[in-house]
Subunit: 298 residues, 4 copies
């Protein structure tokens, strides 16, 4: 079948993982192969192997997360997830708060902001990621954890973009603020990363620099925080981030790179147990995840 693939999603049903592609928001194709292979095949020659299926109520799955024995999950198992930071235009003062680490008078954020080299970090292994409807986590030792709503790209081993998705680069901001050397602890732990609900191919994202990203935190049924940004504010272009990611650093097919955030809820907006995080990006969709605060083991 040759067509314009739009969205790729995956469900789990009685232990079987099954992948689908959606065409024109109406036709659903059940993929013959692993979704990373399907993205690569599509990227290569605009071809998809699979069957047209009926009876998959995608919209209801997005809303309910689970229908009977079918539960939506991460669209792929990315062998590696990497992140980037300080990639958006931001008010200078944002990056220059008093208590941030400084090098010869400039904060480390300002320094990256002005530098040629971007910030690139290892974000997650696949088992630390969750999908649409699955719970992200707040570390047991963090009092201030924020969602970071971001546009993410799925890459092949050459750094070619196979697709786009929504990623929540959940971060324990208090750890990070205490010391930049705590960044890995802030960034990498069980439930630190959500992405989905779908991966869309480049056909859908004609211009990745004109997408609206919106973040909502819902607490006890009410919108507790809302913010948005357009990717036209991204200064550190995606291709540039990718070039640094793969420099001397081979990545496997299906690696995800998340491209940084510009929406930062404040000090008083840290996630709490049972909050709901909703991230919307135009042309992709809305990623919804509940929040689970881990308990301290003493």
């Amino acid at each position: 079948m040759h067509f314009i693939m739009m969205k790729l999603f995956r469900v789990v049903k009685r232990g079987y993982y099954i992948s689908y592609a959606i065409l024109d928001n109406s036709t659903i194709i059940r993929l013959d192969e692993d979704p990373i292979k399907a993205l690569m095949r599509y990227s290569e020659n605009k071809e998809v192997l699979g069957d047209r299926v009926t009876g998959i109520d995608y919209q209801s799955l997005l809303k309910s997360f689970q229908i009977n024995d079918i539960r939506i999950t991460k669209p792929i198992d990315p062998p590696e997830v990497w992140g980037s930071g300080i990639s958006y235009e931001m008010a200078r003062e944002r990056y220059s708060e008093e208590n941030v680490a400084k090098i010869l008078g400039k904060t480390i954020y300002e320094k990256v902001y002005d530098a040629v080299r971007p910030e690139i970090f290892f974000k997650a292994t696949p088992n630390r990621c969750v999908g649409h409807g699955e719970a992200i986590a707040v570390r047991s030792d963090s009092e201030w954890t924020l969602p970071e709503p971001e546009l993410a790209v799925v890459l092949d081993s050459n750094g070619k973009i196979l697709g786009y998705t929504i990623m929540d680069d959940v971060s324990a901001r208090d750890l990070e603020a205490e010391n930049p050397l705590y960044l890995p602890q802030s960034k990498i732990y069980a439930g630190c990363c959500a992405f989905g609900p779908v991966i869309v191919t480049s056909d859908e994202i004609k211009n990745p620099y004109s997408l609206d990203i919106t973040l909502k935190i819902v607490r006890e049924g009410r919108v507790f925080f809302e913010g948005s940004v357009n990717t036209n504010k991204m200064r550190r272009k995606i291709e540039e981030q990718i070039q640094y990611l793969i420099r001397d650093n081979p990545i496997p097919d299906g690696t995800i790179l998340t491209t940084g955030t510009a929406i930062v809820p404040g000090r008083d907006k840290g996630l709490k147990d049972e909050d709901i995080v909703e991230i919307t990006i135009s042309n992709i969709g809305t990623l919804i995840t509940p929040v689970k605060k881990r308990r301290k083991i003493t």
Copy 2:
């Protein structure tokens, strides 16, 4: 067979990976199972499954790296490698150089030094690691890359120590010095990590805090740098590092944690193509790796 296992090593022969355990520095056992499973079985009940073999000239393999079609390699494929930093007593001035990032007057290193929470970072995936006799790498964009000679522990998924090894946490110090946000780029790339030549079990390391670590860099046949430290200078105890590593962060069996360094060759001692790095730790052995400078792709 019940006995005191001393050292575990692995070779590759015509595409087959074969693991051995050495007893009393003389008897060699060929393991029936994957070396991570063997370490777990041994840790559980001091038992090893395997055959006594003859004709394996371990000492010659250590020296020549390859004999006929047998080449020594990484003793295990650790699913994840993590690192720790600022774990040794060091002269205060070391951590407080002028150009290091500071937070309210203190360098970030001093802050970790004084803090309860250690620095823990994601160091490598197995494909980025090399073994004894295999080449570590200097990034194409680094002019100052240093070896970091460290005692490392192999852990099970509960954080229990299954064994000890020598690790070289190779780091692009110029990237790291430029900005702590570049730490992941400094730390994670192809060839960033060497370990081996063996893993020794806890029987061999009665006290991990009384081991001599020596680093030699050999250039054009001469010792270009030499330094040593004893692990009795480790302030941040290994158990403490492990507790932070596994807090809210499940790790797989066979994960390696490297425990930090206190030997830091200076600015003028950066690794060059064709250097040889030798790291010796008492009761474990000597890990030798050549250095390969990556070429810029322009």
Copy 3:
């Protein structure tokens, strides 16, 4: 999904094997799992895991065998195929020809006919079987090879019937006629066995003893032989055959037992290269296979 599964078929597409179930001869379900597992699940609790698909033109596939890159193939890979013989009522003279082996005056066929114990034989491994549209073979050293059109049952490891299919137990009758000790050579070789095009479940076969079996051999576009029989002529009941098959002889899930033939084209009707064999069984369908005469290697 709970429903009456009717027919199960399988295709191969660019190296992927994909299994389908057809409901009410109209709805097509793409199975989530291996077709043997699907048959077992259905047999257990009338349940099928899969998606409704559209665009699979099953009738055209049956006719053309291949549409674009989709080719119909064996519905399952049976780990073992067993056969039974002398299971139908037949004119006594059929079994008592002059040149047939005799024991104390009775032919061996007559003896089986009258005996309690049925004839059961090992027929094929999966790689020796072909599916609908794929070529059956005539041995290079046989001048008289006949198709044997039979009703076959798919069994689980307890001998429970999971489904029914059409089987062609192709046999080199001249080898067999020469000496019963040559039966395995007559019965087992590459291309000795065809089955399909589908497996139907027991719901479809209310009474396996009232099915019409028809055999046509088409040569150069014309019907060269035609014969038929009804399974109501089967004397040796299927359950009886199964009981002897599994006596002291454990079989794996998905084993096929073919239940014997009563249509025997004569001496002058041996298969030739490029003949077409068509076997029809009511409630199952028509299995069509071309014939390929193997060349002698001298």
Copy 4:
């Protein structure tokens, strides 16, 4: 290692299958690879991959079958086992008993004896075979089951001989005698086939037509039957049998063909529960198996 491989055996230890080769009846090599691959590599270039081991008391294993947690087992898992019959010179009367099936006056055995084409039959799948020290079976419905002590060859997919072993082609002679159409039931069932204790390579068997085969049946501690023959009485040469086996019939690497027997204990020598069968072939060894009579399930 390049040397003359003599014998290949395999043990099972805590669920691990481990293969060994014995050199000059003294040096034991633990094989790096699957024993079928090892036989093929050796056959190709007289090379074996493995380590010399000590502490394997092969002679005691042969005698005790199990030492601590190590049990000797089948030397390989042959994907298919085939047999041949009527391959030895025998007194004509042997083949012409009154009650044997006859074709136009000659028994079917006499006919094969005189014919160009040998008898070739499917004997067993790997799960129906046992090794040294493991129990062969008497069918629950057989009153007269005999061992058939035979020289067997291990073949690659081209029919090339990779090695030799001892095989017991256990047969329910009463079923076979009743009707040749019952041969598969006589020949194929759980525990119908034993082979081992080792596979020897062709170096050890300079001339396969000068080997003594001896059969002993031990009942209640005494030799109940003993008989022997030399393979110089084999009329139907092994190569001839192989040529018919592989004619139009592709076999997988590691297939075993057993070459027929000439030792036939009489009517009153049928195997009973708890008998011990010992088969010795010069240059190979002695295969010992207890007998287990299956119980009727009613």
